[in-house]
Amino acid sequence: MRKGTRLRLALRDLGSGFAFASMAVSGQLPIWSLVLYGVALVVALAGRRPFSNRVKLTALLLLAVALTLGTNVLAGSLNLVVAACAFAGLISAQRLLSTPDATTDGQVHLSGLLMVAGGAALSGELVYGLFLIVFGVLASIALALGVVESAVPEGEPVPVRAVMGPLATGVGFAVVGAVAFFVLFPRLNWNMIGPSASPGLGVATAGFSNTVRLGGAGTIKGNPRIVLRATLSPDPEKDALDAYWLGRTYDVFDGQEWSSARTTSDGAGFMTTLRPGRENLVHQRVELMPAYGARTLVAMETPSRLGNAVTNTRQGSRRTQIEERGGGEVRFRDAGISYSYEAYSLPPGASGDDVQDLPPEEQDALLALPEGLDVRVAQTAARVLNGERDPLAAARKLSAWLQREYSYTLELSGDVPDPVADFLFQRKQGHCEHFATALTLMLRTQGMRARLATGFFGGERVTGGYVVRAGDAHAWTHVLVPGRGFITVDATPPAHRASQSPRLLEQLINFYEVVESQWRDVVLDYNFRDQLTVLRSLSRSHEVPKKDEPPGRAPPPRAFGAALLAAAAAYAAWRLLTRFLSRERPLEATRFADAVEAQLTSARITRGEGETLEALDARLARERHPLAPALAPVTRRYLEARFGGRPLLQGEATRLLADLRRAVLTQTQRGAREGTRPPQARAS
């Protein structure tokens, strides 16, 4: 196989691989299709085409795959779009492994386009965009190389090196042109009403459930993905917030897991429009990111009002209803990819809901203890409290004791019969839920009302707002203080409250999230309105117009100036471009001649004005110059390559130049010897 052909096939296969990857990043394709395609790609890249001789048999394989997928779709275990995408990928894989002729090439490229379209249907992420561009570039070059290859007669080498430059230029222009088209071509789509959303990097990780179960292995603390973005007003202007973001609370503990006394929703969704509130409230504009994976609204402690809820789906954004669930949880009624809303919270230390507002069964629940609670819990609590009866002071005393005596760990032993006793008396280490549960239960044994709260702790400043990561998920304790409401007491050691992920990973994720949010703003959500904004911002002045001037009907002179400038710039660019494209590129033989002439110049052979290498060679031969014998074959080869239609072979130019250089060196050394000889002769 020719060298150019191998390169072209490798590019074709790689392009197809990227097209498949653009679907695969959505994480929705079945694993077995990923594996099948991956194996096919590796085999194809290794240059093996095992399906060449078994066309019909392998087509049957495809049929089997289609049947499998179809059954899955009928059974409801596979989305139709996902199944179609997977099938496109497997068609491509089958084609990759077939005889690489023109038809197969076309089919591979076509299936690549199908896969890219499938990728667009499955995800619209940043990675998808990257893969799309790489696919476009690789496939274009492979196609163009195919054209070049078919133009070269059989048996001759494909001039890969020669065509790569122009090809790369062409593809570069195509990419730039596509971007310009994207930015400027009017796009009328159904998303004009608002930004659409994309699911982001893989599957969501955080979440709220109706229960919190102690046990299992702790991994969530290590996850640096951003689940929440918030803009606060008044802006606290701190790099790191010490804020508790409350998601929901739990009041019933059965020895293993927490739940709420009132778990059922009253079914009434509501839609609240928030107006600017009282001055002492903290206003938050919150966006729940796709990585959040739940529908629960969170707000800084202590949430006062939530509203202006908007769900972002693939079809656009819309105002939606929220509903209140048990445990003070407020959630979106409809599922979306991401959500945004506004919230008002009471400043820290302000009074919240009072115990009198709670229904009796919930008041009772705040004191309930699980059956069979280890008696040592109550004994220990009494010993630590040592007669302290004020709930808040007691809670703080207990929490200080817990933080002092117990250590934090993410490694858990798994399910044990009594996790609280295990934590308090056996392992003496645990994570936030253990600390919070222990504090809550110890308070309850002493007759003080308390409950478990879950949400997030922290907040990191990023470009004017704050982000909260999945790893910031936290649990803490609410103590009911008569007359003041629920007060937050956190038993977890302060160092372990916020995200535990490595710093570098956090920064990488930060960077990725910034780029991704740019991608969403500038590419995915870029619509006709944005185009108008771009155009308007080009023509609109940034100065404040003078008030006494009546608004004129004609465009301001500035607009004409800008238009002229733009036209001039476009003209200049066009001129530069045409000059660049039409400039003469030195032929390989000409470059060789330049190199030869440079060597001759270094040998102090002067050339007449306009004297070509051919003429120079003839003159040196006439003058019987010592370099003439060395130069003659070089000149001859140059003339053959330039005018005789016999191009220089690979490495031939280097070899000829090396020969000439040796001759030049010998010549200069001889010249030097002869230069020093006359004085010696005189001396003798």
């Binding site: 001649a593 070509t612 051919e614 003429a615 003839a618 003339l639 330039r642 005018f643 005789g644 239609g645």
Partner: protein, 326 residues
């Protein structure tokens, strides 16, 4: 010591072509000594399929050269002395009435030879000149409605005296254009002249010339040369040179398309000297002046030798200004 007759096979290779050309040039050198560059040019023109115009004062070996060429190449030869009373029929031949058969029969003139020396061409009246020049262009003669093909390879070597113009009819430019090259031998160097005095002991110089080729070999040489590669850039170079002569301020008329074709053909033939199967800009430069100097018309009214030098000078200048492809 005649060599055995050569196998007059078509020239199969570059090396054969070059050696054939060198053989001819060597034989010419035996007759005309010390003029190897001019002799090469004559052979080049012969191989390129062109006619040669020799401009020289009398007595420098023009006739000897033409005869030697005919002998070396094994071509039939005729010499026509052009005079003021020479009629076309004297050159082309005429219909002669045969009394016995009562019919007219064509009696071929001296033109029906493979190599014709037209001596002092400019002394003949224009009718006769044009009769010859038409035959040169067509390779055939039309007389009284009948066409008579001239023997191949029909080649004319014409001479004219560039100094003595009295009683001459200068060749029109359109007819000069039909000569592929114009050249002059010039006087030999003193050494060669002295050598001639010493060595020439009564034997005519032509006796030393041996026949080393034949019409078939010449024909195959011509076909071979015409098929040589002329790169697009070299062709472009030739055209650029022509354009430069056409727009030059000192020139009344620049090179014609026939001149362009002739230069290409001469450059191809010239490439054979280097055993190359392609022509280079160097080949073009080598034959540029002899090929074009008689085809361009100067604005200044100078004539004769000075006009010839002026034209050559202008062409050299143009060749310096028009960059060669590299």
């Amino acid at each position: 010591m005649n060599q055995p007759a050569r196998a007059l096979s078509p020239v199969p290779s570059l090396a054969n072509a070059r050696s054939a050309m060198e053989r001819i040039a060597t034989q010419l050198g035996r007759a005309v000594q010390g003029k190897s560059a001019q002799l090469q040019l004559v052979v080049t023109s012969l191989v390129a399929g062109g006619h040669v115009l020799l401009e020289d004062v009398p007595g420098v070996g023009k006739t000897t050269l033409a005869e030697a060429l005919a002998k070396a190449c094994g071509l039939s030869f005729a010499r026509v002395q052009f005079t003021a009373d020479l009629m076309p029929a004297d050159v082309l031949g005429a219909q002669v009435f045969h009394a016995q058969t009562a019919t007219f029969q064509f009696r071929p003139g001296p033109l029906f030879r493979q190599l014709v020396l037209a001596d002092e061409l400019n002394r003949a009246p224009p009718r006769t000149q044009s009769a010859l020049l038409e035959a040169m262009a067509q390779g055939q003669v039309s007389l009284d409605g009948a066409t008579h093909v001239l023997p191949a390879p029909f080649t004319v070597v014409a001479t004219q005296n560039p100094v003595d113009f009295s009683g001459t009819y200068p060749l029109p430019d359109s007819q000069l254009d039909r000569f592929m090259v114009r050249m002059s031998l010039g006087h030999p160097t003193p050494e060669v002249e002295a050598g001639l005095l010493v060595t020439r002991d009564g034997t005519p110089p032509l006796d030393a010339v041996e026949s080393v080729s034949g019409p078939e070999e010449l024909a195959s040489l011509r076909a071979f040369a015409a098929a040589l590669r002329l790169d697009a850039s070299v062709a472009d170079y030739v055209v650029r040179l022509a354009t430069a002569t056409r727009s030059h301020g000192d020139l009344e008329r620049g090179a014609s398309t026939r001149a362009v074709l002739a230069l290409g053909a001469a450059a191809r033939a010239n490439a054979l000297w280097e055993a190359r199967d392609f022509a280079t800009p160097g080949d073009v430069r080598a034959v540029l002046v002899p090929c074009w100097a008689h085809r361009i018309l100067l604005r200044s009214a100078v004539q004769g030798v000075s006009a010839r030098d002026e034209a050559a000078h202008l062409l050299e200048e143009i060749a310096r200004k028009v960059p060669a492809p590299r």
